[in-house]
């Protein structure tokens, strides 16, 4: 415990006083930095990206270890039941082949119909594919760390998805890694529609791994349990028809849904170019300033 005064030595007294001043100076500098990073989030982009490059390789390496250990356990489990699994898979394969032939026919028909309608299809270019190697642990802001960065062509504001569904959008990009604002964050609002019926809705995160769905039109609650919600492409940031979430519970005028792409179990995530490039500049939220 510090004594109230370090004896009668003038030197020690001054030392204590100046260290006190130094702490206050640190406090003021910190407050200034905080103000700057809140008012102009892009001002520290380079520093934040560099810090991400330092910590992300640690996460990637450790992630490799844990997934290898997990793979060994599940791999051993697969050998245990191999004969039974083999028979089951053969039956499944036979069914799948039939379904595939049907699907091919449908695709062909679809192409012909689209050609007839003169529909213009935008090509969706994948910018990079990486793994989710970490996340914010203690912050009310929910974001994940992705193992690709500007070196792979990733830019701030690009949408990120996995094979299962939408994950979020890039908010910080270092050379080797980037930070992704998850769709379950409260500040991430995604224009969406219900797959059944196509009614337009808005999806907003709730900060606890689920999302809140609200219909654009006030009135009867359009949701049903089990409904799947997909992006509508409105606003131009997220490409249309990417699955977002499945409804688990209804509340008075909307519903609560669980994202289909669980960031904790996603093996890899794909960064895509914004659906309409001009959307990057027009993004209204403060977290996604154009680079």
């Amino acid at each position: 415990m510090a004594p109230p005064r370090p004896g009668w030595s003038r030197r020690a007294q001054y030392g204590l006083f100046f260290s006190f001043l130094a702490v206050i100076a640190g406090l003021i500098i910190g407050a200034f930095m905080l103000g700057l990073s809140l008012v102009a989030p892009q001002s520290f982009q380079a520093v934040r990206g560099a810090a991400l490059d330092v910590t992300a390789p640690i996460s990637s390496a450790l992630n490799e270890v844990t997934s290898t250990a997990g793979g060994l356990v599940s791999g051993a489990g697969n050998y245990w039941d191999a004969a039974h699994q083999n028979a089951k898979l053969k039956v499944e394969r036979k069914k799948m082949v039939q379904r595939m032939i049907e699907a091919k026919a449908i695709v062909q028909e679809n192409r012909q119909l689209k050609a007839a309608l003169q529909l213009r299809e935008r090509s969706r270019a994948a910018v990079a594919a990486g793994r989710i190697v970490g996340s914010s642990l203690s912050s009310p802001r929910r974001f994940a760390v992705l193992s690709v960065g500007t070196g792979d062509g990733v830019r701030v504001g690009m949408p990120v998805r996995s094979p299962d569904g939408l994950i979020g959008r890039v908010i910080d990009a270092g050379r080797l890694a980037s930070r992704v604002l998850l769709i379950s964050d409260r500040s991430n609002i995604v224009p969406a529609r219900i797959l059944r019926g196509g009614l337009p809705v808005i999806s907003q995160g709730r900060g606890d791994g689920t999302v809140d769905l609200r219909p654009l039109e006030v009135g009867r609650n359009p949701f049903r349990r089990g409904d799947v919600v997909v992006t509508s492409g409105t606003g131009g940031l997220y490409p249309p028809l990417v699955p977002i979430a499945r409804v688990i519970r209804l509340d008075d005028d909307g519903a609560i849904a669980v994202p289909l792409a669980d960031p904790a179990n996603t093996s890899f995530a794909v960064v895509e170019a914004p659906y309409e490039p001009e959307a990057q500049a027009a993004e209204p939220l403060p977290l996604a300033d154009a680079p």
């Binding site: 640190g26 990073s37 190697v133 203690s138």
Partner: protein, 173 residues
């Protein structure tokens, strides 16, 4: 420490480890680096490990590092955990100031007072983090900081025990 001094196992020439003065600050950075572990949390209820260890050191000793080191340590923490830059700088400097002031007022310390102080500081830290996050976008109700706060308060004794062991090790006791 009286009992430790009386025990006969002391060797001649035993003293502080090399770099003993830097070990507390390094341990705070290492604790902050725990957030680089490949854990994907959907709720964000983990404690702020760097802050926890900082409080544990400062409550254990009044001089683990010169007080102004709190600012650069906080900056490192902000960069590691990805918080808005300056958040931990302000919080950690304010913590050092507050504890210096409290040190002048308190007559005695015991385990429960320390835990109470730590709980108070953790409450301040969580509220400040919630407030800052609220400036960058919408956040939940204030009550949503309760679960992570409780987890951090119950994690404090573990951090305090680890820091105590580390302190004895670095001083060669």
């Amino acid at each position: 420490m009286v009992r430790a001094a009386l025990s006969s196992g002391r060797r001649i020439g035993q003293g502080p480890r090399a770099g003993a003065a830097a070990i507390p600050a390094v341990s705070v950075i290492v604790a902050a680096l725990l957030s680089a572990l490949p854990i994907v949390s959907t709720s964000g209820w983990y404690p702020d490990f760097g802050f926890l260890v900082l409080i544990a050191w400062r409550l254990l000793r009044s001089d683990p590092w010169p007080a102004w080191w709190a600012a650069p340590l906080g900056l490192a923490n902000d960069l590691i955990i990805g918080a808005p830059l300056g958040m931990s700088v302000v919080l950690w400097s304010a913590t050092m100031l507050l504890l210096d002031l409290i040190d002048r007022r308190t007559m005695w310390r015991d385990y429960w007072i320390e835990w109470g102080l730590a709980a108070l500081l953790l409450l301040l830290g969580e509220s400040f983090e919630w407030w800052v996050a609220g400036l960058t976008g919408p956040v939940g109700r204030f009550g949503s900081i309760l679960p992570p706060l409780l987890i951090a308060i119950f994690a404090f004794p573990i951090a305090a025990w680890l820091v105590g062991r580390l302190d004895r090790w670095r001083l060669g006791r």
